[in-house]
């Protein structure tokens, strides 16, 4: 049990909202080396502190916000990871969010923030270096995320501070609510927003003035400069620099044929030209925005110049927001789509799940299993932004019959509605999927079905990539900056930075074992909650309905594809055919503390 030499401060900020006190929890070098940080460390805390079949709404539920060891250093594109047990699916969930929030945690001298308990009245957490305190948030309760952000900055009297706040959706505990960081970036897909709302924690403001301890400064800086150079040189990123991920909307429509359309009925949507990256560049985008030290600057900000929403500044369209709230709803009205995207940000709700829910509702109306009477008289039609805007607002405030119904999410909605609506209730492990159709882009099936969060598009598109992404998410690196450009050079490029930073002597072998350990730990949590191979499946729409149009007409994700995927994946990680980690695997990865739980789960599954 030694204190870390570098890369970590060796302490985690522990906040108990029930008692209203803050403590320091030590982080040892051994634990840091085993789980790195971010999603890995969060997975360790979740598995070691929760018992099987944990109730996500319980008072001892916690949120772990973790930067990785590289955060706050010269390494480009570092993020922050929000890890918790999802109240939506009951499974482990982690969301990585860009911006400067993660770095600020490190500069304040912490390796993570661990928040548990429930407050009686609304509070917000102010962190200035070592000084952390809970402050009254009754004035900002009910405010949207942009206003709350401004109020926190004002109260901190520091314009250089960074914030993470929830909006009305989180306060009303919509199970797919998001945390909005620095106004435009969402830590979503994890239901962290709902959990924060449940804990009556409105937000976090943070500012630090320290530097991350580094063992060998010269060597580390040199390696970090090499890592940065990969991103500067990478030609593929020239497109992302210019178009952001919004440019992918056109590409996935015309080339990959994986742009989701009309609630996943097809992938052919030529009208994308009205709402895609080109249209945005012509009429909307004004600025490029980057995360720390990042040459890619994929985020675009723009303003609507005409019509009802004139003067509205919004971020996007990104590929996911433009897909879920654009093509999936057959939108042709660019301003309407941007207004929806901005509304989801402002109210603090996951735009991916929200888009999935809206598309499902519209198809229900189409097929006649839902009527306007069930939705307070609102009748959503494909491409009608006004009705969708009203439904988003109602959902976030859980208002009326429509709000109550839509805030249940696709899976529970279809259970309630019945009448065969399961056939188009597209979800994986109870969560809506993102904007890549796995029939056109078969690699994504790995990310959706095999990924531990379920329905997540960012977990790697093959067994090997998932292992790598376990590490990337624990280092809290951006996929664009740290994931893809370093692929061929990993682990070299990462280890060249990590070893001089932390004073380690990590080998390639240990690196790959750490990758597998992180994913296996996450899996063990899900296995205890009753997940096995039977749940690692795509929705049956992708298995039974071939693509009706487009360059990949007739493609379908077959049962053989699924079998192949399962076999390759479980073999890669050393799990049995049910998808449960074997005893030998757990022992070899030094995860002995999970043996009993997994043996017990194996008997039931």
């Amino acid at each position: 049990m030694t204190a870390p030499k570098g890369g970590y401060f060796g302490k985690i900020l522990e906040v108990d909202l029930s008692k209203g006190e803050v403590k320091t929890r030590p982080l040892t070098d051994e634990l840091a080396r085993k789980f790195i940080g971010g999603s890995g460390l969060g997975a360790h805390y979740l598995t070691s502190e929760y018992k099987a079949k944990h109730d996500p709404w319980a008072e001892d539920s916690f949120i772990f916000i973790g930067p990785g060891p590289l955060n706050g250093t010269f390494c480009p594109g570092t993020r922050a990871s929000f890890v918790n047990q999802s109240v939506y699916t009951g499974l482990i969930s982690h969301a990585e969010v860009g911006g400067h929030f993660g770095n600020e945690i490190k500069w304040a001298g912490w390796d993570g923030i661990y928040i548990k308990g429930k407050s009686k009245k609304p509070v917000w957490l102010s962190i200035k270096d070592d000084k952390a305190e809970l402050k009254d948030a009754s004035k900002m309760w009910g405010k949207d995320t942009a206003v709350a952000d401004e109020m926190i900055l004002k109260e901190m009297k520091d314009p250089y501070a960074r914030t993470a706040v929830i909006g009305p959706a989180g306060e009303n505990m919509v199970p797919y609510a998001a945390v909005i960081v620095e106004r435009t970036r969402a830590a979503a897909r994890t239901s962290t927003g709902a959990l924060m709302g449940n804990k009556k924690l409105k937000g976090i403001g943070i500012r630090g003035t320290k530097a991350v301890p580094t063992v060998d400064v010269a060597k580390f800086t040199e390696a970090a400069k090499v890592a940065l150079q990969y991103d500067v040189d990478r030609e593929a990123w020239q497109g992302i620099k210019r178009w952001g991920t919004g440019g992918l909307l056109e590409q996935k429509q015309w080339v990959t044929s994986s742009l989701i359309t009309k609630n996943f009925q097809t992938t052919w949507y030529p009208d994308i030209e009205h709402i895609g990256g080109e249209q945005a560049a012509r009429t909307f985008w004004k600025r490029h925005v980057a995360c720390n030290n990042c040459p890619v600057h994929c985020m675009k900000l723009g303003v609507i110049r005409d019509g009802k929403y004139r003067g509205l500044i919004a971020e996007g369209p990104e590929y996911e927001t433009g897909g879920l709230l654009g093509s999936n709803l057959l939108m042709k009205d660019f301003a309407g789509m941007m207004a929806m995207i901005e509304l989801t940000d402002a109210l603090g709700v996951d735009s991916i799940s929200m888009g999935g829910v809206l598309a499902f509702t519209t198809e229900c109306i189409d097929k006649g299993v839902l009527t306007a009477a069930d939705l307070d008289g609102i009748k959503p039609k494909w491409g009608n932004a006004d009705a969708y805007m009203e439904l988003i607002r109602k959902t976030c405030y859980q208002e009326g019959k429509a709000g109550k119904l839509l805030s249940m999410g696709v899976k529970k909605m279809s259970q309630k509605i019945g009448k065969g609506s399961e056939a188009w209730a597209v979800n994986v492990k109870g969560k809506e999927i993102a904007a890549h159709d796995p029939r056109g882009d078969k690699g994504r099936a790995y990310s959706y079905a095999m990924g531990q969060c379920g329905g997540d598009h960012h977990e790697g598109d093959s067994s090997d990539l998932q292992a790598r992404w376990g590490m990337i998410n624990s280092l809290c690196m951006c996929s664009f900056v740290g994931g893809v450009p370093w692929l061929r050079e990993t682990p070299g490029v990462v280890l060249n930075m990590l070893n001089p930073l932390c004073g380690w002597d990590m080998t390639d072998q240990e690196y790959w074992a750490t990758c597998r350990r992180i994913i296996t730990t996450e899996r063990c949590f899900n296995v205890r909650e009753g997940i096995s191979a039977k749940d690692d499946r795509l929705h049956k729409r992708f298995l039974t309905e071939p693509l009706p149009e487009g360059p990949k007409k007739g493609w379908v994700f077959t049962a053989e594809d699924e079998k192949k995927m399962h076999d390759a994946y479980y073999k890669h990680f050393g799990w049995d055919e049910k998808g449960i980690p074997t005893e030998a695997t757990l022992k070899s990865l030094d995860l002995d503390y999970l043996l009993d739980d997994i043996q017990a789960a194996r008997k039931i599954l």
Binding site: G72, Y160, G311
Partner: protein, 241 residues
Amino acid sequence: MKEEIKIPESINKQTSRRGFLKGAVMTTGGAIALATIGGVKPKEVKAAEAPKVVQRYLFVERQNCTGCRACEYACNIKHEGVVRPSTARVHVYKHKGVVDVPVICWHCDDHPCIAACPTNPKSLTVDPKSNGIIVNEKTCLGEKCMKCAEACPAEYVRVHPDSGNPVMCDMCGGDPECVKACLQQSGKPQGPCLIANTLGFGVNLAYRNVKPVKAAEDMMDLLFYPSKGDRPKTGKSGKGR
């Protein structure tokens, strides 16, 4: 037989400002200059090696900033060895989550900070070679004074969290790291935002004399609300909805 097309000499002549200046320098050179006037084509003249320019001013094109803070990081690596933006000699201020404003030392010719410095001799001096500001850590009164910060029209001067003295830009001795980092990060479609002034036309007072918040508000108007009345009145946040 085709007639040979004669190109007028004036078209071939380089008429750029640089070429003009170069020619001007050459005339003082004597013999070679005479040769140029005599009709010898410029490329035949062996170009004199350009002297290394010392960059005396910083300039920031705020519209180009993406908020990546590469300038802060490069500054820290040069001066502190490790990244610690609270001590950086350049800051990036994010306004309402919408615009980023790099806050720099413009290296004013009138030096309001030095004029305001109460110590005798002055604790702030100008490096004659690079035009950078040097802080005398021994004589500086530090946090309890900070007259320089009050005097700075760009609200640039910050307190060092350890020493309590003001943090001043020394131009890295004439070759600023922040400028190089900005150039490396930029590319298509966004050009670099930090520029070191090689021509030496001085400080743009219209740019300098605005505080970061005002500069950010101006830039929001410029970028997002170019015509009058575009800016929504509702919503204190400025991100009207």
